[in-house]
Symmetry: none
Subunit: 180 residues, 4 copies
DNA sequence: AATGAATGAGTATTCATTCAT
DNA sequence: AATGAATGAATACTCATTCAT
């Protein structure tokens, strides 16, 4: 599965051939089918693996958010950093689950929904003003995470902490100079 | 090309078969090769078409931004709306160029660079504070546009204007209540 | 036809495409079919053209052979030179008729038969001894002409006269030193 | 490979279809590609097989020529007979390598060179006179072998021994009556 | 648990040829 | 006399998958 993940992440679904996977694994093609029902099946397994890790991390992030006594910015930033860390530690299956799979849309939708719930709670707690559509904000956050992961994190240009700090600050305070 | 765009957008590159394109076009396979060198070639043509439209729109957006005397928020919002409108009017080739193609990364990088330049100018003009990395902001904006296009615009849930208004406000002022 | 001859000679039957012929001729494909029934047909026409020229030349050679009063070697050599000259002056159709076509075998068989008749006559006139099979000699002569045309004449290494002199001497006197 | 050789020899490269080869072999098309990289590849393999056999035989012929104590004519005749026997025993790959392939010219050139070397040696030993160009003689011998193989040997009209005897005598003593 | 050997079903591409104008 | 536009029929090659051992 590691080898498959690597190749799927590298070449995409169609351009990854079973023959190449088994060659790198030093087994034969029938052996592959001993362990996986089909090419789709192993791909789906990798997606599910990613989903599970993502779900776990999101759960974790919610908990850690409640526990901490840090400032609002730091708390949110920490939560987002956890997501980036997940992507960093599981680049290959993240590529598959979050970018290559057809489930990606659903996974992101789920993630956005989660974020929206959190935001709603925070609005109710009076942290945020409420004159923007929270579903848009949530979706925007997902888009930002997604794209920064690809262009900054996986490119090795930024750490999870840098990224989460910057985007949290952006999302909280915006770009406008205070004196404007 | 319209038919090809439709099918590529719907099924992706590999799962779009020439036989299906020509069937819907009511011509035979050799006819296809009369007009396009290969499957790759027509795909690339569609990408290039999208690139051209995007470049033109970005150019347009820069000009209109300079001319207008509207408020900062409205000016930026208008620019972003133009991009969303492009995606709305050209959903299929946008899907191909912005999501399906291998050039997508490069196209987005280009777009982010463009946005970064604009931001840099605005920072110099004193509109924005400068304690965030502008390349991250630019990348974030691309991510937001990309993801909102997919989940809100193309889902028919929001108009270009709504989206651009909301995300401009978000990016300018952030989520924090003024009195926080 | 000139253009077709050139391309057939250069690329062979299968690798010569009608599309290439008409492109070089600056006409369209339907125009080709206005003048030739099919690809096979024009190929056959070129073969027939070669056949006609070859027949004419062989006829000529027989006549000239009777008229001349030169020595035996010179007479035979002249006849063979005429054949080489034909190949030299009509390289392209000769390539087609003598090397590329499926009629080539038949054409050569015909040529060998002609030569055999001549040899038989000369044997009867007492010029040659008769302890070798004349059909083999005739066939050998064809083989020699064929191969020297390809390797020496068309390679520009030898003239028709040089070739015919050398092979006539060889066929008449052999390689053995006189004092052996 | 036997079946492929048969079909290539019979129909030529282009008119031999993989589908026909595999049909006669009672396997499917993918099975073909399990053993051969492409149509060109199997064709080349057959050519190489012929080349190898030819080289071996030529080597053999040179050795046997040195050892034997037989008369000059018999020795040369035996050598040539060995070549004819090769063609007889390997008709199909000989057809491919010597007549159908694009390597044929090179193979024959090589063979002619070999023969020329032998002749040069024999001239130096004083057996032959030297007033003819030996490269022409060598090329002529190749032409004779080539053509007699096609018209006499493979037609079943002559045996290797008959052919080699006759052409050796021809090349050594010529056609002229001794008393001429 | 593993594999050597095989295949069903596709899939892009080519090329001689023709039809309507 | 000429052509723009189209096609019928092939054809080499690929790849996920399976069967017998």
């Amino acid at each position: 599965m590691k080898i498959a993940a690597k190749q799927f992440a590298l070449y995409g679904f169609h351009d990854t051939k079973i023959s190449m996977i088994v060659k790198e694994a030093n087994v034969t093609q029938p052996t592959f089918y001993l362990y996986f029902k089909s090419k789709e099946a192993i791909f789906q397994e990798l997606i599910d693996l990613f989903k599970a890790k993502l779900d776990m991390r999101v759960e974790q992030s919610r908990l850690s958010s409640g526990i901490e006594a840090a400032g609002l910015l730091q708390r949110i930033s920490n939560n987002i950093a956890l997501i980036f860390q997940l992507f960093q530690e599981n680049e290959q299956i993240a590529r598959i689950g979050f970018f290559l799979s057809e489930d990606a849309i659903e996974i992101k939708k789920q993630m956005a929904k989660q974020i929206e719930e959190n935001l709603t709670a925070e609005v109710e707690e009076g942290y945020f003003h409420s004159n923007v559509d929270l579903s848009i904000i949530a979706s925007a956050i997902v888009g930002v995470i997604e794209h920064l992961t690809l262009t900054k994190l996986w490119a090795g240009l930024k750490t999870p902490e840098e990224l989460s700090q910057d985007i949290t600050r952006l999302f909280l305070y915006g770009l406008i100079r205070e004196d404007n």
